[in-house]
Amino acid sequence: MSENRKNNLLARLNRDFLLFDGGMGTQLQNAGLKAGQIPEELNLDQPELIQTVHSNYLKAGADFITTNTFGCNRLKMADAKYSVPEMIKAAIDNAKKAQEACGRTEDSYIVLDIGPIGTMLKPLGTLPFEEAYELIAEQIEAAGTGVDAILFETMTDVYEVKAAILAAKEHSDLPIFTTMTFDKTGRTLTGTNVETFVNIVESLGVTMLGVNCSLGPKELAPIIEDLLQYSHVPVMAQPNAGLPNFKHGETVYELTPEEFVKDVKYYMENGLAVCGGCCGTTPDFIRELHKNRPKAVNVRTNPYIPKVSSATRTVTFDGHVIVCGERLNPTGKKKMQAALKENHLDEVIAEGIRQEDAGAEVLDVNVGLPGIDEAAMMVKIIPMLQEVINLPLQIDSSSADALEAACRIYNGRPLINSVNAKPAVLDNVLPIVKKYGGVVIGLTLEEEIPLLAAERVELAKRIIDRAGQEGIRPEDVIIDCLTLTASAQQKEVAETLKAVRAVREMGHHCVLGVSNVSFGLPYRALLNRTFLTMAIDAGLDLPIMNPLDTQMMACVDAANLLLNYDKDSTCYINKYANASDASGISTNAVNSGAGAGNGAGDAGAGTSGSGTAGAQTAAGAGAGFDLSYMIKKGMKNEVQAQTKAELERSDAMTLINDVIIPALNQVGKDYETGKIFLPQLIQAAETTKLAFQVVQETFSASDEEKKGPVIICTVEGDIHDIGKNIVKVVLESYGYDMIDLGKDVKAEEVVDAYKKYAPKAIGLSALMTTTVVNMQKTIDALHAAGITIPVWVGGAVLTQAIADEIGADYYAEDAMGTVRQMDQIIK
């Protein structure tokens, strides 16, 4: 497409009311397309038919015609008789011929149509993000400059949409239109609502966004209203011809063109820039739309408010205090450092979940640690976190490479931590912010932190101006006026607060790492929460803090009420209805308890709050049950206090050999003889793990007591990991050091892991017959690399015979069988 033609299109969008075409599939089915036939092959087999469909839409008044390429990607076209480029080029050729035949080459546009890939992306599915990107990029490359715009439509996964938009941005400079499919609940099938969709795709730079398919115009009305409310770019809608009915084995849409237009007309006159049709619509629908369309778009001007999003949740910087959880950061946290170094990432994930449960709205993620490839770790851990945590993430790194890798793989619109006023940092990081549509934190420092508030405000202005030069909105820069440590720079604490106040008066949002204020001083919790309250009063609305510290969270909750963000005090009352003024705030009422004490202790709040968990467990220890009983009954809440109590009477090895292992063996025997169910076995195993944690603290060189390491994973192509996870937990309870590589793990990754961890054994799991072949592939790869350690296999479809056939050394029927075998393998 020429630059003139592109400019013409962009000028007309949101000025002239324009029309898309209607359904292609419906037209082809009416022309005799059978179920199972590949519609894209018709571009070459029956070009006249495709040209006729396009011509009919152009004659009816469509300004845009979409190529017959909806499913034309390498995966879906695996059985097609033509290549993807052949079918796409033919499709464009057909559209051009239709334009010429109708004399509309100048005033109509050809849009490359790209529908869903057809399989789900990782982590919920098996398709890697970059492979999804490649599949879309191939289609865009094949189209070249033969089209006027690219349309991504009918997708239900916003992660796939992100891959598609990136592919378009990096392989063309064509306008990008993006529509998703929403159901009656206002969400896509993967849980994205309209506000989140708009926030993500708009920040990625699409030209136009909207909705298509799934419902008729009447049912789509609330979706269209939301799109018009949130969007700052032109909005399009392509409803179906009503809701589908099924008659005599056929899908039938019963809305007439007149009814269709009647339902959508209000929105055509009140904000929509483009309208067309999807399933069941025909040239008659477009003709009716043409007859009733307004000449010009009734342009809206929506206020801009910065927001960050995960795929399913959006957090708005509307002034309320947003807690950003600080605990996914190895700095000063030995457990987190060990988890990252030893690849025990499930502990990192659990810490994220605890923060979400405690009320954080955003989670900071920092994996910077000597010896860790930060970019690679970000790419690994972000999908793992996003698989189970709904919150938007704050990607935190001083490495531009790590920030870019993380922003690319992130599903949503990220908060990026951070830039500062150094020119080189601004030059390196701001293009990443722009490209991936992030909201960025600007640290008010250059070579050093200025002491005076006015100097920090000047740096804030410089960062915001520089961001503007990159095309980043000023609202999308959140300013960090930097908390200084009261023990070393007492006078400057007030300067920080003064700077926060000034930056808020400039209209910008403010972030602070709150607990920095108390380093080196006793009773840190008191200083932290007092500073938090003062900073909120000055205008802080993004404190980075420990959400497991219930008293700091209480300050935030109170502030949100007093500043009139917690309307009708609803959240406050829900949380604190049972809190007592006389005794201060009851931590039991505030928090479900998981980790409340630990978190406060780690943050230095131990003097005021960390006693709670201990008191609860001490009560459990006094209940009169011994350790053996607690393991057998899976009393996880009480077992650690009891272990401590029994360690006062017995040495560690005696406790392990005479109490813990016999108790666990009894549970295993009960399971195998059918007295208890699998969850009870697991409960006992998890309880044992907690007891072991206490016992290990008494060892001087605990590594010597661990057995292994042992690698375990679910093989490539298989995402069932429950069985693998069960085996892992049970083996851990018997003291094995387990390295879990996860699910859908390629053979090469297992070989690499062997080289990295030097395990004593490798366990492979598969649930499906179709993935057992990948088990064999993995074993072959291990053997080819000269690796001869024992490999054991398990999974629903495995038998000893299959295990023998694929070259495994051991087959284990279940978790207890694995324990018996492992005792033989690792003596």
């Binding site: 599915g125 099924f246 969850p679």
Partner: protein, 252 residues
């Protein structure tokens, strides 16, 4: 969907966990009730279906006569139902002796797909991360929940007398047949089920079933099934249901 039959739900959940002695079952009872509440909150049941005319491809010899069980079959067993089941409209042949036997006498087939959705998948993963013991119960409960809701959905279709729901991958019909069947009923677009190349469903708590029916057949035909439906099952040797003297497809 209305409320599910809790007794059947609980029984199926316990079956998925393995038929153990009463002591263990009593301990889990409250947990199963709790799982039901979680499922009602987190799962989003969606289902879709299409009906097709059945025919038989007699050129394929499956080595089975398509006999029904002596105990219950009331579909017209004297009809000629030899060869592989074929859905002409989809140009699809299903080479399965199981199906040949199960569908004997049927004139139509209903392809049903159902799922608990992606939100449940995320929730389950989260539970599993924090409390695996509960996660295992939840997983079993989710399978039972999906089956119960799909049973209700099937009954509401008004098929009349019909066979049980047969799922590719559990008998001698390869799991990869899920792919063309899912595509035929457009389960991806309608209810969000996609699949890997190997026929594995995404979201994982999804199912596809084939139900044979014959609008004109006598009532009670839904109980018909061949003598040994487990003959080709991959779990035949290790099946806990068979060991306990029952079958996975037993209704209650």
């Amino acid at each position: 969907m209305g409320e599910i039959n809790r007794r059947i739900f609980e029984k199926r959940t316990l079956s998925y966990l393995g038929d153990h002695k009463m002591e263990g079952a009593l301990v889990l009872s409250d947990q199963i009730v709790s799982c039901l509440k979680e499922l009602e909150q987190e799962a989003k049941f969606l289902a879709c279906y299409e009906k097709y005319a059945l025919s038989w491809d007699s050129s394929i010899d499956l080595g089975s006569s398509g006999e029904t069980s002596s105990s219950g079959g009331t579909f017209p067993s004297d009809e000629v139902c030899s060869g592989a089941v074929r859905i002409e409209e989809l140009d699809l042949t299903l080479p399965s002796a199981d199906l040949q036997a199960i569908l004997a006498g049927c004139t139509q087939i209903c392809v049903i797909a159902s799922t608990l959705g992606v939100a449940y998948e995320r929730y389950a993963k989260r539970v599993m991360s924090m409390d695996m013991s509960h996660g295992v119960v939840l997983d079993a409960a989710a399978s039972a929940y999906l089956e119960c809701l799909t049973d209700d959905f099937t009954e509401e279709l008004g098929l009349g007398p019909h066979t049980f729901r047969y799922a590719p991958g559990y008998g001698d019909l390869d799991v990869t047949y899920n792919v063309p069947l899912m595509q035929a009923i457009r389960a991806d677009k309608r209810i969000g089920i996609t699949h890997t190349g190997g026929g594995l469903f995404l979201p994982q708590k999804s199912m596809l079933g084939l139900v044979g029916f014959a609008p004109a057949a006598a009532s009670g035909a839904g109980d018909a099934f061949p003598v040994d439906r487990c003959e080709h099952c991959i779990k035949r040797e290790s099946c806990e249901f068979r060991a306990a003297g029952t079958r996975c497809f037993a209704r209650t």
